[in-house]
């Protein structure tokens, strides 16, 4: 960690490709970037590390021409560089793979690729070029398939190939591994290393410090819009980098061993058709969760996670006997009745599913907290109590917002997630179902959310955590299962489980003996 200057040299004597110095960008009320500077060499894999709101997204948006800096200068390949729009950045050799994929589900692969190119060739020629590039980099992809039918890993390939077809000098990757299986991450890293050895520089944004250690040559660490340090990730521990990024000492979640109580949530032989277009139906899903137990459910996105959450939360009703809350049949109850019975749930999509984006935090607190927190008084909303509940969540979960009357949409993804998790966890539930509890949340907040989940479990709640973050599941779960094409593997204890075994469980067909549990 070599100080906090605004400019740091590129690694290992590589020729300089991109140099940023003194870049500042302010929005009303918040300074996103203040005097930021760093250098990326040709073929270098450069990590950009920082918490939510540290200004990473704004910074890469400036490099990609989506946002203009207020002051400061950028040079690219020795020339002054200030792209007015993404098209100009692409023309100069900068390409970007987005965190939330910028893909169009109802269009096919080739059309999606064409949209990201300046002057795409005719479709037939483009299709053959897509095939050629996908083979060269070991990323198999059929140009004629609809993107809506692809898995998350395949969708990312579409984005990467879209970038590669333009022969970029700098490839920006924003949180690329959050939706991939360990095997897919390996394939991605192989591709990125190959690109790097061919001279393409990569600007890599991630929260996953182990990945940065494995992949990146240099790292620039941002905190609250400022560069707080640079380092060579291979020479640092993940813990050291995390602390530099957060600015405080991190404590991993603590587990209080509890005696497993009676079964709080039981699901038996649950099969439901998916109500979602391009969705996956659930097939014969069975599991039980005891009081105080955390069941982690892994799986690549699109294998039935959303459907499982809908079936557990009550949005999708099933036969009464298929789902039991504390041994009472509850399959035909709606979400409100299930909340009354003690089951709270938090879906993955924050803007529109978990929260009403245009409503205030107070109103959002009311929406699920009304019953269990007693926010209704003789048919009227008790606004005083509701506000107090919202403020309690904001304080306890360190939600950064000007106040509880702010619209949910105005919060950053990580902050809103903290609020939504707190809203559910502070309703003294007996069963908790969460899909992607810490998706896009920074390390410190993620640790706090995981700790809160474990605390509820210690108090006797049964918890189901659905997540695509394996490290997270291994950290919080007692038992572990995988959703694969709508089927759930038999839950196994986390202790003693190896990455290889998990990979086999996730691979489905390749791990028949694990994936297909006996009756």
């Amino acid at each position: 960690m070599t100080g906090t200057g605004t400019e740091k040299g590129g690694g290992a004597g590589r020729p300089e490709l991109l140099k940023i110095s003194g870049v500042t960008k302010a929005y009303p009320g918040v300074i996103a970037n203040s005097d930021v500077g760093f250098t990326v060499g040709e073929g270098e894999v450069h990590a950009l590390l920082g918490e939510n709101g540290a200004g990473k997204s704004t910074l890469v948006k400036m490099i990609y021409g989506l946002v203009r800096p207020d002051s400061g200068s950028m040079t690219f390949r020795g020339q002054p560089y200030q792209p007015a729009k993404p098209a100009e950045a692409r023309r100069l050799g900068v390409a970007m793979v987005f965190q939330h994929f910028s893909l169009f589900e109802a269009l096919n692969v080739a059309e999606n690729v064409a949209l990201g190119m300046e002057s795409p060739p005719p479709m037939r020629e483009l299709a053959s070029r897509i095939r050629a590039v996908s083979e060269e980099y070991g990323l198999p992809l059929d140009p004629a398939r609809m993107v809506g039918d692809l898995s998350a890993g395949e969708r990312q390939r579409v984005e990467i190939i879209r970038c590669l077809l333009q022969d970029p000098k700098l490839l920006i990757m924003d949180e690329p591994t959050s939706v991939l299986t360990p095997q897919e991450v390996e394939i991605l890293f192989k591709t990125l290393r190959q690109l790097s050895s061919e001279g393409t520089a990569i600007l890599y944004i991630s929260h996953k410090l182990e990945e940065i250690k494995a992949l990146c040559d240099e790292a620039t660490i941002l905190r609250r819009g400022k560069v707080v340090g640079t380092c060579t990730p291979r020479e640092r521990t993940a813990r050291e980098m995390a602390e530099l990024m957060v600015g405080t000492t991190l404590t991993p979640p603590e587990r209080h061993p509890v005696d497993k109580g009676e079964v709080a949530l039981g699901v038996s032989d649950l099969s439901v058709a998916s109500p979602i277009p391009f969705g996956t139906s659930l097939k014969n899903v069975s599991f039980t969760v005891a009081k105080g137990e955390v069941l982690g459910i892994a799986g690549v996105a699109g294998n039935g996670q959303d459907e499982l959450l809908l079936a557990l939360s009550g949005e999708l009703r099933v036969e009464p006997d298929r789902l039991r809350i504390a041994s009472h049949a509850a399959g035909d109850l709606g979400p409100v009745e299930r909340r009354k019975a003690g089951l709270v749930s938090a879906p993955e999509d924050r803007y529109g599913h978990a929260a009403a984006p245009d409503m205030s935090l107070i109103e959002n607190a009311f929406l699920t907290g009304a019953i269990r927190r007693g926010l209704v008084n003789r048919g009227f909303i008790d606004w005083g109590k509701t506000r107090a509940f919202a403020e309690e969540v904001i304080a306890e979960y360190d939600v950064r917002t000007p106040g509880p009357e702010v619209a949910a949409r105005a919060l950053s993804g990580g902050n809103l997630q903290k609020f939504l998790m707190g809203r559910e966890l502070n309703q003294s539930p007996s069963v908790i179902v969460i899909n992607q509890p810490t998706w896009g949340v920074d390390a410190a907040a993620a640790a706090a959310i995981r700790q809160a989940i474990l605390d509820r479990a210690a108090e006797g709640a049964a918890v189901v955590v659905i997540s695509q973050d394996l490290d997270e599941l291994l950290e919080v779960s007692d038992n572990f299962a995988v959703l694969n094409e709508g089927r759930l593997t038999k839950p196994v204890p986390v202790q003693g489980l190896t990455m290889d075994q998990i990979g086999l469980m996730m691979g489905g067909a390749h791990g028949m003996e694990v994936a297909h549990h006996a009756e």
């Binding site: 948006k61 993404p86 910028s102 893909l103 109802a106 269009l107 059309e111």
Partner: protein, 310 residues
Amino acid sequence: MDFGGINPVILIAGLMATSVPILLAALGEAVVERSGVLNLGVEGMMIVGALGGFVVAVHTGSPFAGFLGGAVAGAALSLIFAALTQVFLANQVATGLALTLFGLGLSSLGGQGYNGIKPPHTVGLLPDALAKIPVAGPILFGHDWVVYFSILMTAATWYVLKFTRVGLIIRAVGENHDAAHALGYKVNRIRLLCIMFGGAMAGIGGAYISLVRVPQWVDGITAGAGWIALAIVVFASWRPWRVLAGAWLFGGISVLQLNLQAAGSAIPVEYLSMAPYLLTIVVLVIMSSGRGKASMGAPASLGQNFHAAR
């Protein structure tokens, strides 16, 4: 060649002409909705186009100038919608409904003094000799140029949406405006142009009613054609050739029921009058059912306003 007093050749020739207004308006609306905008003001844009076209045609004596005037009037009215929804981010459904009410009122006001005037005649495109050929003549060659224009526009809309970059960008914007913005496309500008195209097409469709179908100025002349156009767009799954099929179906039943009325059918007039609306919707519902919602092809961002945050 008559079946119960109905001549099939005249029926087919008639339906092609009858369906022109809704076909043009529906094609325009299909493009608007493909770009992710739901403009319920089609009826209002049609009737303002009908008046604009009528006034220009009467004063210039040129039907062509009239149709151009109709297009300009429709596009101008759609600009109000575009400004409210794309710049001020007003709710699209409410704005569209208001646009229809506004258009109806505006045309009623502006049309005072034009009652009872006869507009210049819109001539056939091809020589009369061709139209006199039995059977094929009236069906293929006997129409005015707007009928051919409407079929040409169906083909053009289909081709542009399916095969060109412009069409791909329009579909992309309607499918996922956030992604389109991230790739650097000007979502609101593209939508604004699509809305104006929709307005112009509705305007031409309206002008065809006042200049050819009726042809004179009457208050409320479009009589709900804009609403049928909207329904056809949805049931046609936003596809131009299906829009053509839906419009011709509606036109066909309209002509048929008029002929049945004239032939003194035993079916009460009220049932015959509602038949085009009822049957068109029933047929289109059957056509578009039985397939998943996704394959229906509704643009995923339809009706949602886009605002570039940060």
